[in-house]
Amino acid sequence: MEVEAAKLIGAGLAMIGAIGAGAGVGIVVGGAVQAMGRNPDATGTIQTNMILGIAFAEAIAIYCLVVALLILFVF
């Protein structure tokens, strides 16, 4: 049973990494919205790059999630 407890704690600890991704996505979208407000004509280009940036930032959180899922359901 102790191993089970350690697994649950470990999965929780692995998800701490989502903090950085959350802050990163917030910064990306904040910057993009400011840019769109200043230059509405460039919205299309900014949106494309924004989605790319979000995808890169979010990938870090997804790695944490995959590690947590592996700890919970595989090992």
Partner: protein, 335 residues
């Protein structure tokens, strides 16, 4: 447009009936209702084997439920292609229905490609569109009811008891109407017939390998052997004493980053879609009736965004590979 709401009036009664049925099944207030407690299904990371005999006798090549999901996704894409081609052949100036929706999607994707890839648009766009359509079909096929819930029951040590509820055999944690006598003490779990293929790491990894290999192919097609200097940069090694060594190290790092692209592609799609499936199960087991609808909507958007992100990253990396090393440096100098 003005006639459509009249035709769909019956739909609201169907929704109302579904809500009342759900409340009757899953809640047990005041003695009415069955009070079934929805269970948390067992979560299994790799695709489950549907049969223990490998396909064609090849070792380790089992028919899994994600393989069935891949077949479904491919079938959707093929039916889409047939539908669109018949829509185009009908000779209408403005495409309507499903072919119109596909036209709008492809037009958007083509616009993005044109803005990034320039003169390589015609070569790169098919890869972008193919990956996006296949991943989109795979992601959205997971939202079809019956997916991941209907399947074969087998014994499983962390499962739930098997209950005979009228004519239906189901796995049931317990509730108001449980017949305790029929409980034989064994525990069971369901192996679904169908699971969306993007929740299988094998599929996302294979797609990522295809994407990254094709990125290198585009690099070689546009620059020839000069593309190798991106990874093995000995041009400035002797002319500039210190910075040459740094440039050489950067080339090695570029080589490593190509391999990390594969991992990044594979885990991004797999993590998003698998976590989405688990999220739907968890919410369904916590709040049986209303809450899952909101998360269905969320999963709808996540499926679309992840499909576009996978395709768009492939497209952007391909466009970068077609641009030469020298141009890249100039861009950095300007920035």
């Amino acid at each position: 447009m003005s006639e459509k709401p009249k035709k769909r009036v019956w739909a609201r009664w169907v929704v109302l009936a579904a809500i009342i049925l759900g409340l009757f099944l899953f809640t047990g207030f005041f003695g009415i209702g069955l009070g079934i407690a929805p269970i948390m299904p067992h979560v299994y990371l790799p695709g489950e084997k549907l049969s223990e005999t490998p396909i064609l006798g090849i070792e380790g090549f089992y028919p899994t439920n994600t393989l069935v999901g891949l077949g479904l996704a491919n079938l959707i894409v093929i039916l889409l292609a047939v539908g669109v081609s018949s829509g185009v052949k009908s000779g209408k100036m403005v495409l309507t229905g499903i072919s119109g929706a596909v036209e709008a999607l492809l037009e958007m994707l083509y616009g993005i490609t044109e803005g990034t890839a320039g003169k390589w648009t015609k070569q790169i766009f098919p890869w972008f569109a193919t990956i996006t359509l296949l991943v989109l079909a795979a992601n959205w096929s997971g939202l079809v009811p019956g997916n991941e819930t209907i399947g074969l029951i087998h014994e499983y040590k962390n499962g739930h008891p098997l209950i005979q509820a009228g004519p239906l055999t189901t796995i049931w944690e317990g509730g108001a109407g449980v017949d305790v006598e029929s409980y034989d003490g064994k525990k069971y779990a369901v192996v679904p017939f169908l699971r969306p293929v993007s929740t299988d790491l094998n599929f996302t990894f294979a797609l990522a390998v295809v994407a990254v290999v094709m990125i290198q192919v585009f690099g070689f097609r546009s620059q020839g052997m000069a593309y190798m200097t991106k990874f093995w940069n000995t041009k400035t090694l002797f002319s500039k004493p210190i910075f040459g060594v740094i440039d050489f190290g950067v080339g090695i790092l570029e080589l490593i980053s190509e391999f990390s692209k594969i991992l990044s592609f594979a885990f991004r799609l797999f993590g998003n879609m698998f976590a989405g499936a688990v999220l739907l199960f968890v919410i369904g087991s916590l709040v049986p009736v209303f809450a899952q609808a909101m998360f269905y909507l969320l999963e709808f958007f996540v499926g679309l965004i992840q499909a576009i992100v996978f395709g768009m990253l492939t497209m952007v990396f391909m466009a970068q590979a077609t641009q030469g090393h020298g141009e890249h440096h100039e861009e950095e100098a300007h920035a």
